[in-house]
């Protein structure tokens, strides 16, 4: 029937695959050994140059020529990066900084060269730059502009690694420009990638936030959420502006919830009324606002806050009850203040308060054991 011929054909391809496997393994183990050897050579060369620097010298021009010759190969770039991280336990050591500064001009040519390469290699170069830890006061402008160009490539990893490099460069203007570009290209699939990245920015957060805030109204919903979450972790100077977002009913729900959280972190008296209003909202459609607002009321003093929280402890929503019990705990009320809950008819509210009480005791016991 000829079916055995088809099987013979498959068998041949599979045998080829197996041979490929074996050859690949041999080549790969050789490549690993070569990488190790190249890393050793680079490490020795770097140490030698750092010794020269420590003795008042400069990086040898031959060393720079060697780097120019070898680093265009991705394998050598990997070895060089390994050697850099191996030879400088303290990247801020003056000799290490001096060495990187002198080598830095080599990277200009490399950046242009890798910009022409396939996405994977370009992404690796961007990663390499982020690990190189360039200082803001070096001549980084051209490289930063190139990194912004890297971000136009249709590869998530290239974009994310270019962003990593820009966080390290520490230029607020370039990073803002890059974020606008990202927004235009709709290039970041998850807002957490940007928020967590921004938190690692090595420049002036205050200035960056200022620049981002200027562009804020024009940004897309997802990027605005990332930026607002980032601001929440880094600055309490935007209470008035964030209050506007929180109260604007036409804003996106996630953004407004992030704004509510902002006031949990930075208590702001003018926001109290709005928070109480969210917390008292019993409409099931608004339970997320209520649950977050209740959790943010812990640092706000006042009988009105306690009354709203006591009411929220009876909510039909599990999360609102849990957050109300937690917030009440932070008001340091005694048993008499909470007697209406502990001895009331609402079993759900009572159970939640009991749980928080047990939880508090457990934490106290744990810290005693730790001490």
């Amino acid at each position: 029937m000829g079916s055995e011929l088809v099987l013979y054909g498959y068998l041949f391809v599979c045998l080829s695959m197996l041979v490929f496997n074996i050859v690949y393994n041999i080549v790969f183990s050789q490549r690993n050994k070569r990488l190790e050897r190249q890393t050793d050579e680079f490490s020795q060369a770097i140490l030698m140059q750092m010794e020269r620097i420590q003795h008042g010298g400069q990086v040898d021009s031959q060393h720079l020529a060697l780097l120019r010759r070898k680093l265009p190969h991705a394998d050598y770039l990997i070895a060089f990066e390994n050697a850099l991280s191996r030879s400088s336990d303290a990247p801020d050591h003056p000799a290490a900084v001096h060495y990187r500064q002198e080598v830095f001009p080599v990277l200009f040519d490399l950046a242009q060269l890798y910009a022409q390469r396939e996405n994977m290699q370009a992404a690796y170069f961007a990663y390499f730059l982020s690990r190189f830890k360039p200082r803001k006061d070096w001549d980084v402008e051209t490289l930063q502009r190139l990194m912004v160009e890297y971000m136009k490539r249709p590869s998530l990893y290239c974009r994310v690694n270019a962003l990593l490099a820009l966080y390290e460069f520490g230029s607020e203007e370039n990073l803002t420009q890059a974020i606008i570009l990202l927004d235009r290209e709709d290039a970041i699939p998850h807002e957490k990638i940007l928020t967590d990245g921004l938190l690692s920015f090595q420049g002036d957060h205050k200035k960056l936030i200022g620049l981002l805030w200027e562009k804020f109204p024009k940004l897309s919903q997802r990027i605005r959420l990332s930026v607002l979450n980032y601001i929440r972790f880094k600055s309490g100077d935007y209470c008035e502006e964030v209050l506007g977002i929180m109260q604007n009913q036409s804003e996106d729900k996630e953004l407004r919830i992030s704004a509510i959280r902002y006031f949990g972190r930075y208590p702001y008296a003018p926001a109290k009324e709005a928070l109480l209003s969210f917390a008292s909202d019993k409409r099931s459609i608004n339970w997320e606002y209520a649950a977050v607002a209740v959790s943010c009321l812990g640092p706000y003093p006042g009988q009105d806050v306690i009354e709203v929280l006591m009411e929220a402890a009876h909510s039909s929503n599990w999360y609102v009850r849990l957050n109300a019990a937690t917030a009440l705990e932070s008001h340091h009320l005694d048993y008499n203040d909470l007697i209406s809950i502990f001895s009331g008819n609402d079993r759900y509210a009572r159970e939640m308060m009991m749980y928080r009480l047990d939880h508090k005791r457990m934490l106290e016991r744990t810290s005693e054991v730790t001490l």
């Binding site: 029937m1 079916s3 055995e4 088809v6 099987l7 013979y8 498959y10 068998l11 391809v13 599979c14 045998l15 695959m17 197996l18 496997n21 074996i22 690949y24 393994n25 790969f28 991705a74 990997i78 996405n119 994977m120 290699q121 992404a123 690796y124 990663y127 590869s155 998530l156 990893y157 290239c158 994310v160 690694n161 990593l164 699939p189 998850h190 957490k192 990638i193 967590d196 990245g197 690692s200 599990w318 759900y348 159970e351 939640m352 009991m354 749980y355 047990d358 939880h359 457990m362 934490l363 016991r365 744990t366 054991v369 730790t370």
Partner: protein, 481 residues
């Protein structure tokens, strides 16, 4: 009469040739696609084409445990070694009759707590809750009435505080970077609702703080053959199906899920033995029916180490359970077959599992009986049949070896020469013998199924050879307890 038999055997022959060709083509395609995917993933990782910055998606790890006194402490200790910041561990003691709960309480300084747990999913009565804050992450122990693994997982989901949960077996160990790797697809695509990881047998392997410090093939033949079988199935079908969002199985030993969508879909089905497969098929159906854009992914580099049964009787129990689970899931969601609403999952994945997994034992046993009958009646062309079988065994063995070596090379495991020889020697045995034993067990699984459908059967538990900084090696404490 002879002519009639001749015609019947001709038809049977044509059917089997087509069946074998279909299967061989599928295996061929999946191993080639799987191997190439692994090699390109390795190159990508070398060139740091991965999400490197610290993005931590909070994950609740749920460990259902029923009479897992032997393994539970080491499983939880291994979870405490994970290289990840934002997670919690929830152990659900599903009505154990041994000292599982006591071991948990003593080993992790757990205290009873009156914690109200929201019943988002139905589960059997929760008897008590214990918590511990004395470790790197929060540990919760839920003691409930026995209701089966699916019921325990539902209880764990109810108690989970984070938006994603990871289910695993109490006798498995996660590699130190597995959590970081399994959440990456979520960061790359917000439509991802579930991610499966790679499960590897750990018999013969030594793990230290979640890292493999010594890898070798198991000493016993049976687990050794299972290593080859696992690699073939994980590398082959799962990677291929992942290419078109067609995965219908995420192993119960290691899978990550979006909690809200699982709750909306109704959680784990307590009436099936294959709750892991049933959930994934249900997610396909739920998302497609409700027009929810979704993706179910497979993370090849997220590794979970598990114990392969070392006794044939244990292996048979396990495979019987899998076969019944497969049957239940496929019957329950039978409207998926050739249904345009579900796209390629329906036409490729479901069809493949129906023909080459669920029905394959019957077809294979029927084939064997046909051969015996044909031989008795003098219709069998014996030399041709032997040649055909020989080619098939050689072919399937080479595919197994390709999958095995591709996996070994791409996850940087070192294999000794003798282990490589062992793999080569055993692959033909696995394809020609073990496969038929398992086929027989799977075929028999559905006989008397209604009577014994929810009986899991006990499988002998051993501790995984895991060492951590704060605990002695498993084998050291075995006698000291």
């Amino acid at each position: 009469m002879r002519d009639i038999f001749q015609t019947i055997f001709n038809y049977i022959g044509v059917f089997f040739v087509l069946y074998m060709l279909g299967y061989s083509s599928f295996l061929f395609l999946s191993v080639i696609v799987g191997s190439s995917t692994l090699y390109s993933a390795k190159r990508r990782n070398m060139l740091k084409n991965e999400l490197i910055n610290d993005c931590y998606i909070p994950v609740s790890i749920i460990v259902p445990a029923h009479n897992e006194g032997v393994t539970i402490e080491f499983t939880v200790r291994s979870l405490l070694q994970l290289d990840y910041k934002l997670y919690e561990i929830i152990v659900v003691d599903d009505g154990s009759t041994d000292d599982t709960a006591q071991i948990m309480q003593n080993s992790f300084h757990m205290v009873p707590i009156r914690r109200p747990i929201q019943r988002k999913l139905k589960c059997r009565e929760i008897l008590s809750v214990f918590e511990s804050r004395a470790h790197k992450v929060n540990i919760t122990l839920i003691c409930k009435k026995n209701g089966g693994k699916a019921d325990a997982l539902n209880a764990g989901i109810n108690a989970a505080q984070f938006p994603y949960f990871l289910c695993m077996d109490a006798d498995s160990v996660l590699q130190f970077d597995s959590l970081e790797k399994i959440v990456r697809p979520l960061l790359e695509n917000t439509n991802v609702v579930a991610v499966g990881g790679a499960v590897r047998p750990c018999n013969g392997t030594t793990l230290e703080n979640g890292r493999v410090v010594h890898y070798s093939m198991p000493r016993k033949i049976l687990p050794c053959m299972q290593v080859l079988e696992y690699d073939r199935s994980f590398l082959a079908s799962r990677i291929l199906f992942d290419k078109f969002n067609g995965s219908v199985i995420i192993s119960g030993a290691f899978g990550l899920f979006k909690k809200s969508i699982v709750i909306d879909a109704g959680g784990y089905d307590t009436n099936t033995m294959g709750e892991d497969m049933e959930l994934v098929v249900k997610l396909h159906v739920f998302c497609s029916d409700h027009g929810i854009p979704y993706s179910i992914r497979y993370a090849t580099d997220a590794v979970c180490w598990t114990q392969a049964p070392e006794k044939l009787s244990d292996l048979c129990k396990q495979r019987r359970r899998w076969q019944i689970g497969l049957y239940q899931s496929m019957v329950k969601h039978r409207r998926m077959l050739f249904n345009r609403t579900y796209g390629l999952v329906s036409y490729v994945s479901y069809f493949y599992y129906l023909i080459y997994e669920l029905l394959s034992p019957y077809i294979e046993v029927f084939g064997t009986l046909s051969m015996v009958l044909a031989s008795a009646l003098g219709f069998l062309n014996l030399p041709f049949m032997l040649m055909y079988m020989g080619i098939y065994i050689a072919y399937a063995s080479i595919l197994s070896l390709t999958a095995f070596f591709a996996r070994i090379h791409t996850i940087d495991l070192k294999l000794t020469f003798s282990d490589a020889l062992k793999a080569i020697a055993l692959c033909a045995l696995e394809v020609s013998c073990l496969r038929y034993v398992i086929a027989w067990v799977r075929m028999a699984a559905l006989f008397g199924y209604r009577k014994k459908k929810m009986k899991w059967g006990q499988i002998e538990r051993r501790r995984i050879n895991f060492k951590s900084v704060d605990t002695p090696a498993a084998s050291d404490t075995e006698n000291g307890r």
